[in-house]
């Protein structure tokens, strides 16, 4: 039966419509792709916008009143400044700074800064975003002169070295993320110390030793499922097991290092172990991929020379898989650093000013700090939250860049 017919009228020749339709959809696809980029730009610009800008400061105690002889405060000698500091702050605060570094050893600029921070106590009356500061400079200056004649206008980088180096403070002007950063680093360290060997070990077992039995398939499915469990569940698990059930261990009282009055399980150790559980599936899956990528010919060559299985793994497979494993670990760290929910559930402290001294200290982390500052209604906390977010993003960017660098540099050697 022949269907031959040169009659092309059987096909309605609406090429125009088909091409127009194709073009319309292409525009939609491109627009969709652009949405993601726009969202990222909006996010970054929003944060940067709140991280820099003019602030209007009013001194709580005027500088003139402190310097009786008419000399400007900043021109006074170091010893004079020390006297002013001593006269105007509590003994506790004075001794604390004296102990930290004796005043005789401090520079004049150093003491002047202390006097400004703790005696003059400039208070932020208003703040403006970066865009505002750049575009409406004149208006802002007018407002400053008209409504706050006592104050002075200053362009403030909310994210600067002082911010990174200062601990949390009830004074917004002085608050920094130092304790939070240390807390983050400590918890990550513990998490990796736990999760890396166990995770890589599990991956080695699954890839090199385990037969394809029912049990091993269950284990594999189980790991894949654990990777998809919401992080807050890990927080709940950590709360029940590390904070509560294992309290003697995690609070340090078992080891005799904890203050019996304030000790509880909400310590860096609990947080670190919880994060460790969270990233464990990621490390396992990643390490498995890296081990799988090592060619079989290598293994056969090694065992052909009489090596045991472990020798083959240790001397040949692991070195070959190591770059991939490290890259995966760095990615897991990036994920863990940004985790907030489990930390809240574990019981991160809301206000610590002291750097963590060990695994049994109370802790706070950078994301927790951002969370707290964001939740406060006053405008000025937005700036702190933005600056802290920017700090976090920079940390992450560095880590991911090094992961990509590792991947490119060593991946090619395969």
């Amino acid at each position: 039966m022949s269907v031959k017919s040169k009659n092309s009228d059987a096909f309605s020749a609406d090429q125009q419509r088909r091409h127009r339709l194709g073009h319309a959809w292409l525009v939609f696809f491109q627009a969709a792709t652009v949405v993601g980029i726009i969202a990222l730009m909006a996010l970054l610009l929003n944060i940067i916008n709140s991280s820099f800008g003019f602030v209007l400061l009013e001194d709580t105690v005027s500088r003139e009143s402190l310097s009786p002889s008419g000399v400007a405060l900043e021109d006074l000698s170091r010893d004079d400044l020390v006297t002013i500091f001593n006269d105007n702050v509590s003994t506790g605060l004075f001794t604390r700074y004296e102990r930290e570094k004796p005043f005789q050893q401090r520079t004049q600029a150093d003491v002047y800064a202390l006097v400004i921070d703790f005696v003059v106590e400039p208070e932020i009356k208003e703040q403006w975003s970066l865009v505002d500061s750049l575009l409406n400079r004149d208006e802002i200056q007018a407002i400053a002169i008209n409504e706050h004649p006592q104050g002075h206008l200053e362009f403030r980088n909310w994210l600067d070295w002082d911010f990174v180096r200062s601990p949390q403070s009830s004074f917004v002007e002085l608050a920094g993320v130092r304790t939070a950063i240390f807390g983050s680093l400590w918890t990550i360290a513990i998490a990796i110390l736990f999760a890396f060997p166990v995770g890589v070990g599990a991956a080695i077992y699954l890839e090199e030793y385990a037969e394809d039995t029912f049990i091993s398939r269950i284990v594999q499915t189980n790991i894949n499922n654990l990777a998809g469990v919401p992080s807050i569940i890990y927080g709940i698990l950590g709360l029940a097991i590390f904070v509560r059930a294992l309290e003697p261990l995690t609070s340090g009282s078992f080891f005799g290092v904890a203050d019996p009055l304030t000790a509880n399980g909400r310590t860096i150790l609990s947080a670190g172990l919880t994060l460790g559980l969270l990233v464990l599936p990621l490390i396992i899956i990643n390490a498995q991929e890296a081990i799988k990528a090592v060619p079989n010919s290598l293994r056969r060559a090694s065992s052909g020379l009489g090596a045991t299985r472990w020798q083959t793994i240790w001397h040949h497979v692991l070195p070959g898989a190591l770059p991939g494993i490290l890259t995966g670990t760095i990615l897991a760290i990036s994920r863990a650093i940004g985790e907030t929910a489990p930390m809240v559930v574990i019981g991160a402290s809301t206000f610590i000013q002291v750097d963590p001294s060990g695994p049994f200290s109370k802790f706070t982390t950078l994301p927790i700090q951002i969370f707290q500052w964001t939740a406060r209604p006053q405008d000025v906390f937005r700036n702190l939250a933005a600056a802290a977010s920017l700090t976090l993003l920079i940390m992450l960017l560095t880590m991911n860049a090094s992961a990509i660098f590792l991947r490119n540099r060593y991946g090619k050697k395969q």
């Binding site: 022949s2 269907v3 092309s8 096909f11 090429q15």
Partner: protein
Amino acid sequence: MAKSNSSPKPKYAIESVNLSVHYGDFQAVRDVNLKFEKQRITAIIGPSGCGKSTVLRAFNRMNELVPSASTTGKVLFSGQNIYEAHVDPVEVRRRIGMVFQKPNPFPKSIYENVAWGARINGFTGDIDKLVEGSLHSAALWEEVKDKLDQSGLSLSGGQQQRLCIARAIAVRPDIILMDEPASALDPIATLRIEELMRDLAKDYTIIIVTHNMQQAARVSDSTAFFSLAEDGSRAGMLMEFGKTQGMFTNPKRKITEEYITGRFG
């Protein structure tokens, strides 16, 4: 694609004039001048790497799918150069169909495979009849008529290739290009395809690329022999073209004779 009313009906189904194809800086084929008679089977043979597939794909603008490809020269179909700016490649490909080396049916039902091309081209007639007719023409109807809704991938290799042929026929092309259609198939399936080709030639112009000389000899009316240019540039060029019988018994050029007698390629 507008048909000009004033020019006489072309004698040849399709012809190329000084056709050259480049991939980036590399010239894959050079100055191909070929004319293909209507409702005949023409074979393109030659050693591997001499651009046979590239030439074939130039005839329905499939080379354009490779970003670095560029084509010069003309390909005249129905009195027009299909490479002119106003020509829609989509329309060209409907009228000049293609069957590929490895059967590639869609992961859809057998029915859908055949109907799909007609549907998107806006077929206005009875699709059921079209599907049945195309499967008949591809000598596949009897084997699949009871399982039209099963997946096309459930067929054997040879059946899949015939399904691809049915699919190509369903859009009512004028010409069918076949790129080594039987090379992935077993000998029995191959013979069936060859039989099918002779049937199809009653209604369609067929151009087949094959590395199998015996196949060319069995199946084609005319043969074009390609080989690498003798100046060492690795560009494919048409060496000889003529009636199949004559070429195999009495090749005009030495290089043709060497290929046919198996001295290279």
